[in-house]
């Protein structure tokens, strides 16, 4: 679906360069739900923006490549290189940005925002009435009342607005949907409703879904495979079940362990310290400063992503010795 090779996505200003994504290689497979996890400021949103080919200044792709393969009009696969992706936006790839509470245009009725998403070249655009019928039908499938079409965004509650955005992003049945923190500002009941809606759609349309979230619980519930990012790099990548039951990177293990759970007593510690600066990243492993197991080697050399098994990779010098494995409960 999408092949990312040694991607460097930097925020370049005259005085500083923030290396938000620093050498990420990742394959997004067709029909999977891929999760991207990590603390704020680890580059996960930047990665997704680059995957969508949306590069607002000062974000630039300083190195590496992203190739997206989509089914063309004749059914044959077409490969498009980032950042020339505007031609496939909405129809083949869609993006649900972070803070989507404010992405809808406040002065346009919801209905018209749907029409605007349909490309000018699409023949459906000529027949408003038929398009509206399709739209009502589609909303009914998603259990959304048709009354939302006549509403302005401020008349909808947060949860309803988010559901409208999901409907908008999937209306043209794109093959790849990128969702950046789709449920972060919402409460648990609405969060579950929206995740259920996303996964149901994914199952029905058989498309690929990438979900970015800092909530490990969300990843466990919905994703098939997950990538853990730390300070601009992927530190662990593998099937979700395996990552949770047998985390191989100390950071992943600490991230899982720091979650309080209802029904479990006992003190829990957060991860001490804070992530390093991405302007002048430290030499060696970027987690070394906060890692309880760091050795001299960790501070000197950057660990590569190595295979734990065919599906599971980790970037840690200590992984072969199985250090982090023992950290999980």
């Amino acid at each position: 679906m999408q092949a990312i090779r040694d991607l460097q996505a930097h925020y370049v200003t005259p005085t500083v360069t923030v290396r938000a994504v620093d050498g990420v290689s990742l394959d997004v497979r067709e029909g999977e739900i891929l999760g991207i996890a990590g603390e704020s400021g680890c580059g996960k949103s930047t990665l997704v923006k680059a995957m969508y080919g949306y590069l607002p200044t000062p974000l630039t792709i300083a190195g590496g490549s992203i190739s997206t393969t989509v089914r063309g009009p004749d059914g044959k696969p077409v490969t498009i290189e980032s950042p020339d992706m505007r031609s496939i936006w909405w129809k083949h790839i869609s993006y649900i940005p972070q803070g989507s509470m404010s992405v809808l245009n406040p002065v346009v009725r919801v209905e018209n925002q749907f029409y605007d998403a349909v490309p000018k070249s699409d023949p459906r655009r000529r027949d408003r009435k038929a398009l509206r019928e399709q739209l009502v039908q589609y909303l009914r499938e998603l259990d959304l009342p048709a009354t939302v079409l006549k509403a302005y965004p401020h008349q909808l509650s947060g949860g309803m607005r988010q559901r409208v955005i999901v409907a908008l992003a999937t209306f043209l049945h794109p093959q790849l949907v990128l969702a950046d923190e789709p449920t972060t500002a919402l409460d648990v009941v609405v969060q579950r409703g929206i995740l259920a809606m996303l996964t149901r759609l994914q199952k029905k349309m058989g498309n690929t879904l990438v979900i970015v979230s800092h909530d490990m619980g969300v990843h466990y519930q919905v994703t098939h495979r997950m990538a853990i990012m730390y300070a601009g790099k992927i530190v662990e990548l593998g099937p979700t079940e395996q990552v949770f039951t047998n985390p191989r990177h100390p950071y992943t293990a600490m991230l899982i362990r720091s979650l309080p759970r209802v029904g479990q007593a006992g003190l829990r510690e957060g991860i001490p310290g804070s992530p390093p600066s991405l302007i002048t990243p430290p030499e060696g492993c970027r987690f070394a400063e906060r890692c309880p197991h760091a050795t001299a080697l960790c501070r000197e050399r950057v660990p590569d992503l190595i295979d734990v098994n065919e599906t599971h990779q980790v970037a840690c010098h200590l992984a072969p010795a199985g250090i982090a494995g023992g950290l999980a409960e």
Partner: protein, 326 residues
């Protein structure tokens, strides 16, 4: 009753929306009664989704908003009314806030230590700047920060977790008996949340401060609180010791909330319905959860449910607990 640190009785706050004639009335806080005992420090969590009235309740407790009816007393002294209420300075020495987003709580144009000094001087904790420096240094040390590293810095020079700790330190300066924390960890990463809530536990032990912890995050609420109140559409639907309420919820809404926490180790298997229009639930004459409740019967839609005592300090606002009799 004077042995309660905080006592809320039949508190109601009604907001009017819309025009003069056809406006609708919306009870953001609806007949809420809660108490925090004074004999030992406790953390009371108020949990609910957005629009449940929990922030309005917190704002009333901070005297930022006047209630429509009902009473709030701190240590037996009323917060609102004509006679015998708290003077402002006295009130601020007793109760202090911690807000959701520390980057919004501090002005970006001022150094954060100016807030610490202002609090110490204005509330009469310190008479001179030197005295204030000593007090502030001690308090920053108790939240794990160093005065030398905080002084002269602007908010953007801190990470979210650090700045939230500064705002907790600021709240601690007058040695308040009660801290009202409105969503203090929502703006923070999951890995940093634990550092802040551990700080609360530590301060409760060390200084005997009680907390009202307003949140929508059930897992941290379970972790820190002694008592928990679940709010739904302005009403407290369930109250009790945190462990019991969250591990064996009695109200169907609490059960729904618990089912919806994304857990690790147990996947969701059932479908879920979301409400179409939330204002309809606010205006419901009977139980406000009835339209989504699987156990609802006719009586739930017509009459207000009773508050049923379950023993062990537990209360639930549900017909099911009283065998569907009013």
């Amino acid at each position: 009753m004077s042995n309660n640190l905080l006592e809320i009785r039949n508190l109601t706050k009604v907001f009017k929306t819309g025009g003069l004639v056809f406006g609708t009335r919306l009870a953001a806080v609806d007949n809420v009664s809660l108490a925090v005992a004074a004999d030992r420090p406790a953390i009371l969590s108020i949990v609910g989704e957005s629009g449940s009235g929990k922030t309005t309740l917190a704002r009333i407790l901070l005297r930022l908003q006047e209630p429509t009816s009902g009473e709030v007393q701190l240590d037996g002294k009323p917060l609102f009314g004509r006679k015998g209420t708290f003077a402002d300075t006295e009130f601020r020495r007793f109760v202090q806030p911690v807000f959701q987003n520390p980057f919004e709580a501090f002005s970006p144009h001022k150094t954060v230590d100016s807030y610490l000094y202002a609090t110490a001087m204005n509330l009469g904790v310190a008479g001179t700047r030197d005295e204030a420096t000593k007090v502030i240094g001690d308090i920053l040390a108790s939240v794990g920060l160093d005065l030398g590293k905080v002084c002269g810095k602007y908010p953007h020079q801190f990470s979210g977790g650090e700045l939230q700790r500064v705002s907790i330190a600021r709240a601690l300066i007058p040695r308040p008996r009660l801290i009202i924390a409105d969503e203090p960890v929502s703006a923070l990463d999951a890995s940093l949340r634990m550092n802040v809530v551990n700080q609360f536990l530590d301060l409760k032990r060390q200084f005997g401060v009680s907390f009202v912890y307003v949140t929508h995050d059930l897992s941290t609420a379970y972790y820190v609180s002694d008592y928990i109140a679940i709010m739904f559409r302005g009403q407290v639907v369930e109250f009790g010791p945190a462990g019991q309420v969250l591990t064996a919820p009695s109200h169907p809404y609490t059960q729904l909330l618990m089912d919806c926490v994304p857990k690790v180790g147990q996947k969701w298997d059932t479908e879920i319905d979301l409400p179409d229009v939330e204002t309809v639930e606010f205006a419901a004459t009977g139980c406000k959860f009835a339209s989504r409740c699987q156990c609802a019967r006719d009586v739930c839609r017509k009459q207000r449910p009773p508050m049923v005592e379950l023993g062990d300090d537990r209360r639930v606002l549900c017909f099911k607990a009283s065998d569907f009799t009013a």
